[in-house]
Each structure stands twice: as C-alpha cells, then as structure tokens.
Amino acid sequence: MSLLQTHSLTAHYGDFQALFGVDVHLDEGETVAIIGANGAGKSTLMRSISGVLTNGTDQVRFDGQPIGDLGADEIMARGVAMVPEGRRLFPSLSVEENLLIGTYGRKVSGHWSLQTIYDLFPILKERRNHPGTALSGGQQQMVAIGRALMSNPRVLLCDEISLGLAPVVIKDIYDAVPRIQEAGASLIVVEQDIGQAMKVSDRVYCMIEGRVTLEGTADTLSREAIHDAYFGGAAA
C-alpha cells in the first residue's frame, strides 16, 4: 500500500473547480515529480494534500488513514510537511526562529535538527539572527525547506522550490535534495522546470487543467510524451 495517495480528488475555489478526480500515489522512500504548466492544478493538489484546502475524507489517504478532511495542523502533526509556493517565511521571526517554528506541531526525534539543517545549508548559520525576509531569494528558499524538515516529516511536499531563482541558485537548492532523500523522507516535488524534476525523481505525473494526463517512471518517459502531456496533444 502506498504511503500517501489521492483518490478521485476534487477541489474547488468557490464555483471554480480546480481539480477533476486526481489519482496520484507516493510510496515509502520514493520521490515523485508533478509537472505541468501554470494553472494546471499542481499547487492546488499540494494545498489539498497539506490540508490548507479540505476535501472529502477519503480523497486523501496517508499511512492507511483517511486525512482528506483534516486541517493543515493535524496533517502536519502526522508527518506531512510542506514547503509552500513563494516560500512564505514569517517576517517577524529571525532565520533561526523560522526554523524552530517548524517543530511547533510535531516534535519527533530524527535526522533533522537545527544542527543538521545548518550542516545542509551552512549560510543559514551565519544568518541565523537576521530577519527571515532580509535574505536573498535562494537563502529564503533554504530557510523554507529547513523549516519543513525540522519536524522530521515522513512526506515532504515541495511546491515550486525553483520559482523565481537564478539557475545557479536552483542548482544549489537541488543539490540538497539527495541528502533529504537519504535522511528517509518521501518527496513530492512540484516543478515547472522539467529537467530538474526528472533528475531527482523516480516517477513523474504530468497535469493539465486539473487532471493527470501522463504518468511514468523518469527513465521511460520520452521528451515527446512529456511535451504532449504538458502542452496538450494538439501542440505536438
């Protein structure tokens, strides 16, 4: 059985339907990428899994339990942490406080602690007393990732961690991903940057307009298939 799965997941913003029956699953120790253009529903999927949006009880299952209708705080406490799109650091908190607050709802011992986060991103130790939002974009992204790791989550959801960053900075951030995988978390990585996504993931889902249009292992999907799935068949 999968660690995390969605079953015919639907999501709405008022009258607007953003997801139309999405089925994805994530196995223990696996990294899955979700790719797709703007507005494909990737972020909505992340918000639904993390509990920012609530759904039907059985539409999301984690570790065999239905969690679709739980709030973000309860889902986080069970071990699903999210690095939200746009980083969302707390401006009133210092870098170190931003990291520490990551454990508020879940305190379990594991690989990740302030020390190991500082080992992963040494620059953050230097900047520990700065306000979180005084850092560069890449450093802020490191804080956001560290903050999510502090709770030693079983599943880490990364929503567009390369968004708005320079290619050399994106490389720095993605260099950390293998170490996160080794420490034992399963990952869902949402990306527009297909190359980065394929490099770190075992499997890929492609979404268009609220539906999954393509699924496969990273090494078997051809560029053409992804191109079709990404832009819709007509564009090929």
Binding site: S50, G51, V52, G71, A72, D73, M76, A77, A81, M82, P84, R88, F90, P91, S92, L93, E97, L100, I101, G102, Y104, G105, R106, R147, A148, S151
Partner: protein
Amino acid sequence: MIWIDTIIQGVLLGGLYALFAAGLSLVFGIMRLVNLAHGDLIVFAAYLILLLVSLLGLSPFLAAILAAPIMFGVGWALQRHVLNRVLGPDILPPLLVTFGLSVVLQNALLEGFSADSQRLPAGEIATASVQMGGLNLGVLPLLTFASAILVIVGLNQLFYRTELGRAFRATSDDAVTAGLMGIRPERIFATATAIAMLVVTLAALYLGMRANFDPNIGPARLIYAFEAVIIGGLGSLWGTLVGGIIIGVAQTVGAAINPEWQILAGHLAFLIVLLIKPRGLFPRAVD
C-alpha cells in the same frame, strides 16, 4: 519641588494606564482585533475581585489571584466561542461585536451591582507612603508602576523567548502558513485573549484600590488605554508604557494648574503626539 512631585505622580499614574493598555495592545498585535469592551472587561474583573473580597473576606491581592484563572477562562471562552467567529478580512464585524459586548457588560453589571460606586478595600496600603529624596511617594502607585514594568517585561519575554511567542508572531504574520507549522490559529487567538485577561485582572486590582468604580466607567478607561497604545506605536509594549506615562504626566500637570484641566490635558497631549508623530513614537518596522 512641587513640580517634580507632580511629574513623578504622573509617571506612576502612567503605570496604571500602561496596565490598562497592555492587554489591548497584546490582542491587537496578534489578531488585529480592536476590543471595544476592553475597559468594561477591566471593570468586570474589578467587580469579580470585589465579589471574592466580600464573599470570602480576602484581601484584594489574594482575591485577584483567585480571579485571575477565572478571567483567563473568560478570555479563552470569549475568543473561542464569540470573537473567532467574526475575525476575518473585514474589521467591522469584530468591532460591532465588541461594542455590543461593552453595552451588555455595562448593563449586566448595573443589574447585578447597581450604579453605586464601589471600591476595593486596600487597607493600610492605600494611604501608606515612603520617603524618597524629599518626596513622599504612595506605596500603591509605586506597586502599580512596578507591576506595569513586570507585566511588560514578562510579555516581552513571552513574545521573544518562548515557543508560544514565536507562534503568536507567526500567526500574526500569516495564519495560513502558520497552519502548515501545526499551529491552530483559533487556539493561538484564544490563548492570547486569555493572557490579556490576566493583565486585565491586574489592572482591575489597582484600578479598584486606587479609586471608586461603577459599571459605567469602562469606556473612559478604554480611551486612556487606546491613547497609550497609539502614542507608543502599535505593537510596541515599551512604547505603550511611554504612552501611558505621557498621558499620566499630562493629566497630573494639567490638574496642578487647574483641576478642571486634568482629563483635557491628557487628551491634548495625545493629539499633540499624533500631530508630530502620526504613527506613534515607536512604531513597529513591519506593517
């Protein structure tokens, strides 16, 4: 010498106003909620202390210690079951609800305790004084001022040194992202209001020992508290103390010149500060 005495009395009075204001500042800082019933809650707490004093024959200080957990519970329940329902992007509903609460509290107190003026029996301490460098300082005003400083130091420690304080600030910044940290904003808000009611209890203790109170004096205390918070700059607790002191000094100096000018002088000082520094003396950098 008489002027120095007047100013010192004003500074000590400022401590009382800072106590009125600290709870208001705390709640506003965390959830952007302006509690128009704050003054009435202080009066409510004063009657609660009075009730414990007369029923159990306790000193006001002991009665306040008993009243504190009750007020903590009142604050928690009020936030959890009433105010959380109206918090949202629109600031009008919470204003209306707390305004309504203010009216309800005043009338309930009037019904329960009549319009007679009451006072907490402070005993000898009410008239005791100490000699300090040629000045006679009242023990009660000194205690009030020391309590205000303790409250502000305590709240600052809570805000900047504890996990709960981090959660307060994070929730104030961004409640949705705070949820991703396992924080439940409704609980944080309820805890904040409950803590504010502890400060309210302390304010009520000194209010009731210092002067007479009746069910209708809440709104005037609210105005002093507001002025202290705004002079200090929203969100700064030390600023709130400075704001309280400015109003206190203006009132005692005004009263020394002409007793009719006491209240007016305080409000004028507030207006002058607003003219010079519209955002208050110590505005928070963020916002």
